[in-house]
């Protein structure tokens, strides 16, 4: 590609095209007949409306004149630049236009019907399950505050197995900045605090007894779960907005892929063979060394 950009022939063609464009422009305008820019009533209203949406009031005469002047200036430059072909071979313009066309397909995804949402929910029930929720207490053993965690953990395990429910747990473990009792907390929130692995182990523990220790990024935790509400399948009514969003997202991705495939079929693409001496490049890039 960079090689292509350095090609003098390409430079010549681009320059030629630009000159041709300029010639056409000058020719078509002539000396006596200036091209016409018509600013419609609707456009003026649009400018004023844009101002009002920014500033919460209508523009004054002076301000509107300023807006118009700027709009006209932009239009003049736009026309001249386009006539010169300055929009061609410009990566920024190309990307912007591609973006706009892709957006067009996004915009053409219609709202789903109730039946479509229901079908989608049924087919993807797992994705829309509610989060597991846990209520648990933990006794924390800090890496930082203990020399060896294992012997301490063994001693605490013994104590916990005989402790009353009301035992002062603070005596047993270390302080933990994020708290000791977690009530009715969703799985996602526990993941944020303790990490994936901790939660994976947590969800397998039995209720009502001290278990562990479980490792986290902070140290070790003895855990007693008093309640574990399993996430369940949801009715459409309670997850409609999320189901709609996911449905729209799938359609959006599908529509984009479909449109490109269809547009691509309208072109016969010829990629020209590189000239024979291109083989030299391989050496430079180290393949044959």
């Amino acid at each position: 590609m960079t090689r292509l950009l350095k090609e003098p022939l390409l430079h010549f063609i681009v320059l030629g095209a630009a000159l041709f464009g300029l010639f056409n422009l000058v020719n078509q305008k002539g000396a006596e007949q200036p091209a016409k820019i018509v600013i419609s009533v609707g456009q003026v209203a649009n400018l004023a409306d844009g101002f009002a949406r920014t500033w919460n009031r209508l523009p004054s005469q002076d301000e509107l004149r300023g807006l118009l002047e700027d709009h006209i200036r932009a239009e003049v430059y736009y026309r001249e630049a386009k006539a010169l072909g300055l929009d061609r071979d410009d990566a920024v313009v190309r990307r912007r236009l591609r973006q706009k066309l892709e957006f067009l397909t996004e915009d053409m995804v219609a709202e789903p019907t109730e039946a479509e949402l229901q079908t989608f929910l049924t087919a993807n029930a797992e994705r829309f399950k509610s989060d597991d929720r846990f209520t648990f207490t933990h006794v924390f053993l800090s890496d930082a505050r203990r020399d060896g965690l294992e012997p301490d953990a063994a001693a605490i395990a013994t104590k916990l197995s005989t402790a009353h429910a009301e035992a002062d747990l603070g005596e047993l473990g270390d302080n933990f900045l994020l708290g000791y009792e977690f009530r009715d907390v969703p799985r996602s929130s526990i993941t944020q605090t303790f990490g994936d692995e901790f939660v994976a182990k947590l969800s397998k523990l039995e209720l009502g007894r001290w278990e562990g220790p479980l490792a986290s990024g902070y140290g070790m935790h003895f855990v007693r779960i008093s309640d574990h509400v399993q996430g369940g399948l949801m009715q459409l009514d309670s997850v409609r907005t999320v189901v709609r969003r996911e449905w729209m997202n799938e359609r959006r991705l599908q529509a984009e892929a479909d449109l490109y495939r269809a547009l691509r079929e309208r072109y016969q693409v010829v990629v020209e063979e590189p000239p024979a001496e291109r083989a030299i490049d391989a050496k430079v890039s180290g393949v044959s060394q």
Binding site: G42, W55, G66, G179, Q192, G217, N249
Partner: protein, 647 residues
């Protein structure tokens, strides 16, 4: 003691319930809703055993990015970013998506919130064929396309429309004309995307935009964040810079913010960033627009609207500069001090004072004394400013500042910006994998997050998700650091980060309770420091850094300096071990040199042990050789909002 606190809090809960209408009889926390029924069950006839049961203070920091660009930002799009707001939210909430470069990307764990802040200028207009065009449906072809779309065959309709266009066979009602408004503003689409992905309690999509004042290449950028939902945010279009509609002067942005609140009854705040690229005009004493000293109106408006400052991001760290703080051994961090944003004017030393957070906090004290208001009384956040739609700021999962900088064997050796005229060249390896915003919100909603920002209960991190607590008061004692719930002691006896201490009780100095817990996936903590800045009796601004708590058996030397924590990084393999430092640190610190008549601020800086920088992961994974001078380790850190003392 514990029981006493429980009763106090119980009283607070009941008091709240009595004074509020029934619809508001809920106390929110991030562990669910405490409604009246539950509260009665819990509190019943006897005081609750658990002192934590009725807590209403934030229990876990929420992490997010307040500054992310998508393909709708003109520069991001021009660089090849194709990720839109929807995919940006999907990544932030923990899903795997495909980056613009085609590679799959996923965060190590979800973020709690995200603000998509596309540049307001040139946000662009996108086709909206059917909106407000009833005549479209009257046309048989238009009707046919409409029906195709409605039956889920939108891409077929799009194709037919494109073909009709290219063959000049477009039905007349469909012909584009400037006053028929067949386009919709990209802003409205961003708002719609935020509405779709905002899921209170789980993931918050805050509505926002960036106002990008950049005259002469000098960065005066601000992000504007809405407390509101789409119904209010869609009533306006974001303020721009380009004349005649916009302005590059922050005073005009503040006017726009005032007009927004008046019109909609909504709430907005602004967060400035990259003072380091402003060439001396981000935190002025003399306004660059007038050449005159900042006046009463300026300081009042700025204090009102600019509640936070983005102190660290991909284009360099903005907390402190080694020239301004020569004795601060940690000041030289991810430094970007070559010049202004487009590298058109080189940096001179006299600019620095007006560019960095710490010096601005200091100058603010002086302005407050002169004008009655401190314009630079801001809290701290970090954020990415990524132009990729990807809030991926972990060192081992860094997806770059721009799309060409997404992971590749070339990126560590490529050039970010080069200006031969000024001889300034910045390499891609200098781009920092930073940062995130941590917010002490009581729940994960737009309102709660915004309110926490408004009261500055926030801190910046350079990408780590460490937990940091910071409280100031008059009565903290060493025992408070040993309680089971330091936060309860903190909120009961003092004010959190972002708060104020006024008029010291006679003979007392302020004491501070500080605590930090490592990122569960990150490096251990080296130390917690308190940075104090003050205006002394002679009118001179001072600063001093105190090591408050640290990991390991280190003792400060004769010079008062704490020895280095060490380094376990294995650069070749991009690994480290948490065998040095500490997983948590907590302590109480009392200012040993407090003077009750001097204005002061205190903020916390937490330093992690060294870990591999993103460049080390690149070198290891791509098997490349880095350029000479490329740093391969990083000490991640957090900066809290200050607590201010005013006599």
């Amino acid at each position: 003691m514990k029981q006493k606190i429980a009763i106090t809090l119980l009283g607070a809960v009941l008091g709240l319930e009595i004074s509020l209408p029934s619809s508001a009889q809920e106390a929110q926390s991030d562990i669910g809703t405490l409604d009246k029924g539950k509260a009665e069950r819990a509190f019943g006839t006897k005081p609750v055993y658990s002192p934590y049961a009725s807590r209403k203070f934030p229990t876990r920091p929420l992490f997010g990015d307040t500054h992310l660009h998508t393909g709708a930002s003109m520069d991001a799009g021009a660089f090849g970013a194709r990720i839109g707001a929807r995919d940006a939210y999907r990544l932030a909430r923990g899903e795997e998506i495909k980056a613009s470069s085609g590679q799959p990307v996923k965060l190590s764990r979800p973020l709690d919130f995200l603000v998509v802040t596309d540049h307001s200028d040139n946000m662009g207009m996108f086709p909206d064929l059917f909106a407000g065009k009833p005549e479209m449906l009257a046309d048989p072809t238009g009707r046919k396309w409409y029906d195709l779309i409605m039956s889920g065959k939108g891409s077929q309709a799009a194709l037919e429309i494109i073909v009709a266009f290219s063959n000049g066979r477009l039905p007349k009602p469909l012909t584009y004309s400037p006053d028929s408004r067949p386009y919709k503003n990209a802003w409205l689409d961003n708002v719609a995307a935020a509405e779709e992905y905002n899921q209170p309690g789980r993931f918050t999509a805050v509505i926002g935009f960036e106002w990008t004042s950049n005259t002469g290449g000098n960065n005066l950028h601000r992000n504007v964040l809405f407390r509101d939902n789409g119904d209010k945010a869609s009533q306006i279009v974001p303020f721009t810079v380009e004349k005649p509609l916009g302005s590059d002067n922050p005073r005009d942005l503040w006017k726009w913010m005032t007009a927004y609140e008046q019109k909609t009854g909504g709430s907005v705040l602004a967060i400035a960033h990259n003072g380091n690229l402003s060439n001396g005009i981000m935190f002025p004493l003399i306004e660059s627009f007038t050449g005159k000293p900042v006046d009463k109106e300026y300081v009042e408006q700025r204090a009102k609207w600019e509640r936070l400052y983005e102190a660290t991001q991909t284009k360099g760290d903005g907390e402190a500069h080694p020239v301004l703080s020569p004795t601060d051994e940690f000041a030289n961090f991810e430094r970007w001090d070559f010049g202004n944003l487009d590298a058109s004017v080189a940096k001179s030393k006299d600019m620095l004072e007006f560019e960095y957070a710490r010096s601005a906090l200091k100058n603010g004290l002086k302005l407050e004394q002169q004008l009655g208001t401190n314009p630079y009384k801001f809290g701290m956040v970090g954020s990415s400013d990524a132009h990729t739609g990807l809030a991926a700021m972990e060192e081992d999962n860094f997806f770059g500042k721009t799309t060409p900088q997404e992971p590749s064997p070339e990126r560590a050796t490529a050039t970010f910006v080069s200006n031969p005229k000024t001889n300034i060249k910045v390499m891609d390896w200098q781009v920092s994998s930073s940062g995130y915003a941590a917010v002490w919100a009581t729940e994960n909603t737009r309102e709660s997050i915004w309110d926490a920002m408004q009261r500055k209960e926030t801190y910046a991190t350079t990408g780590s998700r460490m937990t940091v607590r910071f409280f100031g008061g008059w009565d903290f004692t060493a025992a408070d650091a040993q309680t089971r719930s330091p936060a309860m002691a903190g909120y009961t006896k003092g004010v959190p980060m972002g708060g104020d201490l006024n008029r010291a009780p006679s003979g007392k100095g302020p004491s501070f309770l500080v605590a930090a817990l490592k990122d569960p996936l990150g490096g251990n903590l080296d130390r917690i420091q308190i940075v104090k800045g003050w205006l002394d009796g002679k009118g001179e601004l001072q600063e001093k850094i105190y090591d408050v708590v640290w990991g390991g058996d280190r003792k400060p030397g004769a010079d008062g300096k704490l020895p280095s924590v060490g380094n376990t990084v294995d650069v070749a393999n991009a690994t480290w071990t948490n065998t040095i430092g500490a997983s948590e640190l907590i302590g109480v610190w009392t200012d040993p040199a407090f003077n009750a008549v001097e204005r002061a601020f205190y903020y916390v800086r937490v330093i992690e042990i060294p870990t591999p920088r993103w460049t080390a992961y690149d070198a290891m994974r791509f098997g490349i050789k880095l350029l000479p001078g490329t740093p391969v380790t990083v000490t991640e850190r957090a900066y809290t909002s200050p607590i201010w003392y005013t006599p």
